[in-house]
């Protein structure tokens, strides 16, 4: 039953990821990516990572993808204006990608039969992850907030139209 769920989700993930690549319009690409992220959320649930599933939904599928959409609309890119690469280059790209996949799969093969560990009651919930986050990883967590401030200031400065221009 779970295995079936996994395969369905995986098929959805991979096909939507491929659609991101092959859609002509950037808008469609973004929408396919949102679907892809939704299916990844499903994977998180399968993996008992409930907290991550929610965060992924809110941050990735919500905030980040909306940001992408805004930018695309800002640039007025919904026409299929993108120039295409030559065919041989596309071919080479696909071959390279497949090669990478083979190599990655080959490199990761050794882990085969790792048994799933026994887990506690609150594994992966906001409570469980929060405990780890606010004890072991308190320092990086606080530092991450500084990173956010920096990114925010940077984004504002970069995107702002210069008065002098």
């Amino acid at each position: 039953m779970l295995t079936i769920a996994f395969y369905i989700l995986s098929a959805l993930t991979i096909s939507s990821a491929l659609m991101v690549l092959f859609s002509k319009s950037p808008i469609y690409s973004v929408l396919w990516l949102v679907i892809c992220f939704f299916s990844i959320t499903g994977h998180y649930i399968l993996l008992d990572a409930h907290f991550l599933a929610i965060v992924n939904l809110i941050v990735y599928a919500g905030a980040i993808m909306v940001l992408f959409l805004y930018v695309i609309m800002l640039m007025n890119l919904n026409k299929e204006s993108e120039p295409q690469k030559p065919v041989w280059l596309k071919f080479a790209s696909v071959i390279t990608g497949c090669l990478l996949m083979i190599v990655l799969a080959g490199a990761l093969k050794g882990y085969s039969e790792l048994p799933p560990a026994a887990i506690t009651e609150d594994f992966g919930t906001a409570k469980g992850v929060g405990k780890v986050l606010f004890t072991e990883f308190l320092m990086p967590f606080e530092v991450a907030s500084i990173l956010f401030i920096t990114a925010m200031v940077g984004a504002v400065i970069l995107a702002k139209k210069h008065v002098n221009d």
């Binding site: 690469k85 080479a92 790209s93 390279t96 090669l99 990478l100 190599v103 990655l104 080959g106 490199a107």
Partner: protein, 639 residues
Amino acid sequence: MEKFAWLIPALPLIGFLFSIFFGKKVSKTVVASVASIFVLIPFILTVAIFIPFISVAEAEAIRIPLLEWINIGKLTVNYSIQLDQLSLMMMLVITGVGFLIHVYSAGYMHDDDGFHRFFAYLNLFIFFMLVLVMGSNFLMLFIGWEGVGLCSYLLIGFWYKNMDYNKAANKAFIMNRIGDLGLLLGIFLIYLRFSSFEYSRIAYEAIDIAIGDPIITTITILLFIGAIGKSAQLPLFTWLPDAMAGPTPVSALIHAATMVTAGVYLIIRTNILFTLAPFTQEIIMFVGLATALFAATIGLKQNDIKKVLAYSTVSQLGYMFFALGLGAYTAAYFHLFTHAFFKALLFLGSGSVIHAMSGEQDLRKMGGLKKALPITHATFLIGTIAIAGLPPLAGFFSKDQILASAFAHHPVLWIMGVLGALMTAFYMFRLYYLAFHGSFRGTHEQEHHLHESPKTMTFPLVILAVMSVIAGFVNVPEVLGGGHWLDNFFTPLLAGTTLILEENVHAHLSHTVEYILMGSSVLAVLAVIFYARIRYKNNGHVPAEDSEPMSFLERLLSKKYYVDELYDSIVSNPVVKGAGLLYNYIEVNFIDRIVNGVGQLVVLSSRTARFMQTGNVGFYIFAMVIGALVILAANTFLH
């Protein structure tokens, strides 16, 4: 007192650092006082160590390890001090004469721009010289040896704006380098043979070695080559006369009293090895005698007051080596000791004369300075008599001891030695009469300017004159009612040599013979002095200008046997010509082409290769992915 021994070399080093870093900020008086005091305190310390040392009969050497230096495998070398008869006597001379010369320099260099630099170098020199004599192993000796060479170079070229002086400094440095190579090889060989650099260890092991051992002979020859370079013996002596380019106190301190005697020190220090190598001793004896006579003949015809003294120094050093070759180590040291005083005195006296003459060094321009410079005159006369070897001044006793050893070896050697002494007496009195007697031959301006030197300069002269008179009494021979104090004092130092030869190293002549020898040499010297007086007093026989025609012999002597020209033609010119040839053909045609070709190849290939840098971001991403792929694949599948 011994626990303060490390201060003896340390203080001059501090003085050097002070002068070099703060010398410009403080007044000249402060610089001179600090520099002098930092040599005076070591002198006082040395005396304080020395006095208890002489009160013990045959005192053991004191060895004080200061710091660990090298400790690799079996090789252990420490910075350590050895205080024994030889090093203490040397330290007395270095710090004592060194202090006087510092005081003198305060007056002599007073108007020089490089005042603080001068004192810095002098202090540095004292430091290295003390390291040289105080060290308890050959590596310490080598540090000092190179250090004094460096200071000598710096001070000869002190007035670096004059190109000739720089050349003289280079010459001294390069010639010393030849000798230093010999010393270095000698030290290496010593380590191979004895597995140690410590004097005590070497002396301990050397006792069991057979006389004439080939390795020991090689070692001693190499060490002697080092001594030849440093002590200006044939054939590496030409740098010393040129070294007179330096300020006169430098000539007195470095090129008369201390540094040039380092070679003598080295041989006395390793006397046991030299005793084991009679072959080397023969060489030393002949080199020393040849140098003594050779330099003395050149001295006869020199007209530069400092050049005369320089050749005289070479000649006297030759005497010391002569004595070393005869195995008369004490006599050699005795002569070194007395020579340090009277030669420093003579140099400082000549400095005083040059000071009065506003830099003029030519004897032909002097004359009649007796009235203008009474103190300089009196002290200079004492120095001259001392070097000529008239009793009871210092030079007499030391020279007599060397001559007695020579006579004990072979009468012909004695005759040669006396010949050298006579020439010394002649050229020194020629110098004296030309400079101080007769009428003034310089310009009117110079005559007007003539004045006695300031007190800081005359005070060292007086002290040194007193020492020149009394220094000889440390080793009055038995026949004159003395006790051979220095001979007895040095007995522990020469214990190994005595043990090997199974007899006392000192010459044994009957009293009658000694009286005859002394008497005849003194009479001969007196006769020569009288002849010099007739010839040069009252402006008689003032040497002709260089342009006047001269006989062949005169020209040969005044041109110093054309040794410099000889070296130029057999060493320098071939090297320069060969280098020119190499430059014009090999360098230009091959090496330059190879080097430039490599450069051009790089330029050409980069001109092609830079098209790979398209600047296209897409291409870069592609390249990056392929690179990552290759690394990953290699990592995965090649293991």
